[in-house]
Subunit: 231 residues, 2 copies
């Protein structure tokens, strides 16, 4: 029996990687439109990605560093980039198409408890939750930086389970990252589901750390709906 399902957020419930890519490309194009010279959009995108890799994805001044690197710093271009980047991030964020139906099924047909365990800056992660409309589904959202424990530390999973008051063996964790999601969740005794979404963490596995392997959530529903407590 599975009494609770906990999910990873980015690239498990929505396509975070493509969204960030699209927003960064749009930001580059808007800077070129507003006067950034001597560089193609494609080359600009490459350099911006270098900055993101070097400074980390949660750094708040990617565009400043990008323009400094090009020796073309201006407040105007930074502002233009930020405006465009956020516009795309706000307008284009949406759940993977299979997610909403799956969550509705869980809520309407089962009494399964639902939660989220995600890394990242608390306010940014919660903004995604709200914009995706997920706050109505998840009573319990655990964001690692809010409690000071990050993936893949298994403590994060133990802590989350204790908040829900659920035994590990009765909970399923669903994620797209083998090392950060599957290994620690399994190590504390949870059931695990590895989602192949085709992103950078989508790897071939042959492991007893994974109970279910799926490509979308309709597959998962078929596999587990008989193991869920009905309403």
């Amino acid at each position: 029996m599975i009494h609770a399902i906990l999910f990873d957020l980015d690239d498990t419930l929505f396509d975070a990687t493509s969204l960030a890519e699209k927003a960064r490309r749009a930001a580059i194009e808007s800077m070129i439109e507003k006067g950034l010279e001597g560089i193609t959009a494609e080359k600009g995108y490459e350099i911006l990605n270098e900055v993101v890799r070097e400074y980390g994805s949660n750094y708040s001044r990617h565009f400043d560093m990008f323009l400094k690197r090009l020796q073309h710093y201006s407040l105007k271009l930074v502002s233009v980039a930020i405006i465009t980047y956020h516009r795309v991030k706000v307008q284009d964020i949406r759940l993977y198409p299979d997610v909403f139906r799956f969550l509705q099924n869980l809520r309407h047909m089962t009494s399964c408890e639902l939660g989220l365990i995600t890394d990242g800056l608390p306010i940014k992660q919660y903004e995604k939750v709200i914009r995706l409309g997920l706050d109505t589904f998840f009573e319990r959202v655990v964001i690692s930086d809010e409690i000071g424990i990050r993936k893949p530390n298994p403590e994060l999973f133990t802590h989350s389970l204790s908040l829900l008051d659920i035994e590990p063996g009765k909970a399923l964790y669903v994620g797209d990252n083998y090392a950060n999601d599957m290994i620690p969740a399994k190590s504390v005794g949870m059931k695990t589901c590895f989602v192949h979404r085709g992103g950078k963490h989508d790897i071939e596995i042959d492991s007893n750390a994974v109970d279910f392997e799926i490509h979308d959530f309709s597959e998962l529903w078929k596999k587990i709906h008989k193991m869920l407590p009905s309403k």
Copy 2:
């Protein structure tokens, strides 16, 4: 002859005070809608304004402090408030109705140089410039925190004039704040125009620090268009 006109931004070219008020009220209402209990929107708005006064308007965690003060802190409500606040600020920002025509007249009928001198966080001020479409009018934007000199320090005005390479006596400064705009601009030898926009800085004056007193920019156009270099 007036060869350059420099403007204050907030509450001179757009109604910054009303916009902030509207955004804060909307944020309070969204928190109440999403579960903030035991408080009316009106009372909430009062308390939020207390927070803004105590922590300063450029502090980045007003909503955190507001909710802590109510002993009702939650990441969800902070996120809800931030989303709503920014949505209103982005959607509802617009120039005072007389501003656009005035700037168009200046650009199409005169060869007057245009600039902006404003206090505030550089990136936030420049965002307003872009969202208001002012970047097409102002080649030169001076934001005090970018150069490390704040109003009412007259150096800010001297510095801006030197960037434009204009003698003070040939430049006009337009602002809504007597102490921060009129006094320092006049002290460096600029002509000055005091705009009565009906906001908190709108005071009765009887002073030789002000050359023009107006209620909207069509009045200013009538008063000065003969003093401007025609194209």
